[in-house]
Structures are given as structure tokens and as C-alpha cells.
Amino acid sequence: VLAASAALAVSAAIWLGCLHFLYRPAAGEFRAPEAPSLRARGLAAHHLALWTDPDSRSAEIGRMRATCQEWDFMGRTFLVLGLADMALRDPGLESSCLQAIDAIVDETLHIEHERGFTFFLLPYGHDEASFIAKPPRSIFVDGEIALMMGARRLVREKPEYRGPMRERIEFMTSRMSGSPVLCAESYPDECWIFCNTAALAATRMSDILDGTDHSEFFRRWVATARRHLIEPRTGLLFSSFNLAGRPCDGPEGSSIWMAAHCLQLIDAEFARDQYARARQELGRSLLGFGYAREWPVSHVGPADVDSGAVVPVLGASPSASGLALMGAAAFDDGKFYGQLTASLNLAGFPSERGGRLRYCASNQVGDAVILYSTVLGPLWRKAGGPAEAEGARP
């Protein structure tokens, strides 16, 4: 028994210590310096196939909507951002990417028009009368639609989107300006930092595209956020709060990585500070594998639709870890990106068929986030983001 225990202990130490070398991606496997990597192309091929085959798309979207209606919408946003970056990285892909982007944006606008913005909200947001601000609107939907239009227009101008995008931006900024914390509702009396920072990023894109200037508004927004929206123990932005600025949820991994990324277009220093804090409070590695917690150690919340199934003891969240890929890529954190992609190779259960790649442990929105993390950079740089947005290359 002693000999067996000793042999097993030594073997475990050797194997577990070396396991990450087997799963660590090769240089350029996920993020290539110029053109999209093979992984990016495989993920994009899977998504484009979904958008050209109505049955497959309907099945995939239905699968997600059964759990979370938001994912249907967010999957569109991240896919559009990913395709826009692919088009900018490889001009040969521009035509097919723009065709897909237009199909996604047009269909999203059609759904919003026919079924209302609440179609993309969780059931507790379906009662429009519960929204405090009138007429009821969700900055979750407005912000991300504007972001999609902005991404499309930054790749190549589309005159049909110019007016609708400007209208949306003007409405959003006016509504945000009317709140004491310069944020608008995503849900009734519930403002999410994810959505409001996405709206800010879209506004910045509009400034670049349309020659408007919201720099003063951005300065006020950051100053207000620093004063009212920071959780004191961690220094991280609250993930949600009411219109008056009273916090609903503390900092969350499923919000902060996206918020920091969007803030790169607004205030690079503030964005980097938020990323560094998120990395310290939420980013973890174990035996060379990276993951992200949904909550800081000092603030534990319940596992919910945003966090996904949280791994006990470690507190690892699939949503937070997926979005951390985007954060690490955006802030040129090659070490963390490498650790996270090692985890993705280990526990994402990739499935590759006919040049199409997807992760079985993920879903459409998760795969879209992964795709975006593999190509992000050129779009943000075009929108006036810092050079570091060119991003991590493990």
C-alpha cells in the first residue's frame, strides 16, 4: 500500500504539473498576428453555417432561448463584432463577413420592430409598464444594436444604418444624461454596467463615423462612475444598480471583462485599472490552467443564468471565463490568455467537423465570444481605442 501510494503521489505530481503543456495552444493557434487564425476561421465557419441554414439556426437559438433570451441577442452582437474584426484583418473575407453582418443586423431590427425590444429580455423585463423612464426602452437592446451598426459601418459605411444609428445614440445619451449616475435601464429600474458601457462604446464609434463629439459626456460618465459606481472593497464597477445608483449586484465576472473592454474606447487608463483589478480579484490559474470567478472572494453571490454552473471550491464560472478571454485579448495579457485557452482546450470539448469548429461545453453566444477574442483588435483601434487592443498573442 505504501509503495502504491508513493507511486501514485509522485505520478500525480508529475502528470498534473505537466498536463497544461499538452493543452497549451501553439503560438498563433487562437490569435494570429495578422489574418484570422485557423481556430477563428473554424468558429466563424460554424456560425456562418448557422446563419445560412435556417433549421440549424432555429434549433441552436431555440436551445439558448429556452434558458436565456438574452443569449440570442448577445450572440448576435459578439458574432457581428467578431466578423467585423475578421473583415478588417483579412480583406478577402470582407464581402462574406459584411453579408452575414447585414443579415444579422437586419433580422435583429426586424424582430425588434415586430415583437418589441422585450423579445430579447428575460421574462422579468417583459412588462414595459415597469420601466421607470418613459417611453420604455432597454439600453441593453439599444446599446448593442448601435454597437452592431457601428461595427458594420467601421468596416465599410452603410448609409442605411447612418440615420437609425445616430437616432439611437442620441436617444441613449439623452436618457443616460437624465439619470443621476448617467446610466439607463436595461431592465425595469435596473441598470447594468455591461449594457451601459456597450452603449458608450457605440457612442464613441458614432463620434468617429459621424463627426459628433461626446467627449465631455464621456468625461462626466467616468467621473460619476468613479464616484458612485465603484464597489469599495475591490475597486471594481458594480455590475448592476438602480436608476438612482443604488447597487443591486456587486462586481461580476460576466460583466466586468466586457465593461473594461468597452471602456477602452472611453478612458483607456480607467479601463486598464478595471482590467487589472478584475484580473487580481477574479482571474485565477491552477496547474497552468486559467479561469475566472464570477464574484470576488469578498462578495459571494448565487449561481444564476449569468454565471452558468459554478465549479465548487474554485468558484470558476464558464461565462466569466469565456468573457475573460475577451478581456485578456483586449488588454494584451498573453499569459492569462494562454492559460485560459489551455482551459478551453481541456474543458471546452471542441468538436471540429468539415472545417467548422464549436465547443460542446459552450453554446452559440459562448462560441461567438471565443471567436471575438481570437480576432479582436482592428475594430477597436479603428474606433479610437488604444494600441493594446491589438491584443494578446500567446
Binding site: V1, A3, A4, A7, L8, V10, S11, A12, I14, W15, L16, L19, A59, G62, R63, M64, A66, T67, C68, V305, G308, A309, P318, S319, L346, F349, S351, C360, A361, S362, N363, G366
Partner: protein
């Protein structure tokens, strides 16, 4: 009761022997390959709270996902550790010259 030959080869009675560890490592890998061949990889989407076929997440789907992840952990982590331990142990025994690595036990 005399165990059939295939069972003695597959699972030697002496678990705590190099060959015992090695064969059990093989069994773990085999078990995972069976789960994989049955298409249970698709059930890992439950990690995100998404049901593989749409609709609500059922208990049976959760059990299948757990079975696949456990099988995967067995094949990726436990089996290599056991195989490596078997090799180290066998090497140790040879070096010490105390005895040869034990084969399948005779019933």
C-alpha cells in the same frame, strides 16, 4: 467461483500491483471511449445551463453530462497517473530486485 479469463485479464484481483494499476487505467480509457462513442460529449453544454436538445434541462441529461465529464477526467487525469505510477512502481521493483511486477492473480 472461478472468474472468466477475460475478466481476470481486464481486472486483475491485485489492484495494488503495477499490472493492476495499468489495467485499470486501460479500463478508464475504454470506459471514456464508450461514453464518447455514444455521443455524450454533446451533453457538456449543460455547463452553460443550456439543454442539449433544447427545452428544459432534465435530470437524465444532467446525469449523462456528469458521466461524460467523469469519464473524461478519468481518461485524461486518473488513467495517465495510474499508468505512470505502474511504470514507476515496476521500475522501482526491478531496481530493488525484490520481486518481478505481479501478473494477473490466479484464482
Amino acid at each position: 467461483v472461478k472468474r472468466p479469463v477475460w475478466l481476470r485479464l481486464l481486472l486483475p484481483e491485485r489492484v495494488l500491483s503495477p499490472l493492476g494499476l495499468l489495467t485499470r487505467a486501460g479500463v478508464l480509457v475504454l470506459a471514456f471511449l464508450v461514453l464518447h462513442a455514444c455521443g455524450l460529449r454533446e451533453y457538456t453544454t449543460l455547463v452553460t445551463g443550456t439543454a442539449p436538445g433544447g427545452g428544459r434541462v432534465t435530470e437524465s441529461a444532467v446525469m449523462l453530462a456528469i458521466a461524460y465529464v467523469a469519464g473524461y477526467a478519468g481518461a485524461v487525469a486518473a488513467a495517465p497517473i495510474m499508468a505512470l505510477a505502474a511504470l514507476l512502481w515496476a521500475a522501482g521493483l526491478l531496481l530493488l530486485g525484490r520481486e518481478r511486477p505481479a501478473g494477473p492473480a490466479q484464482s
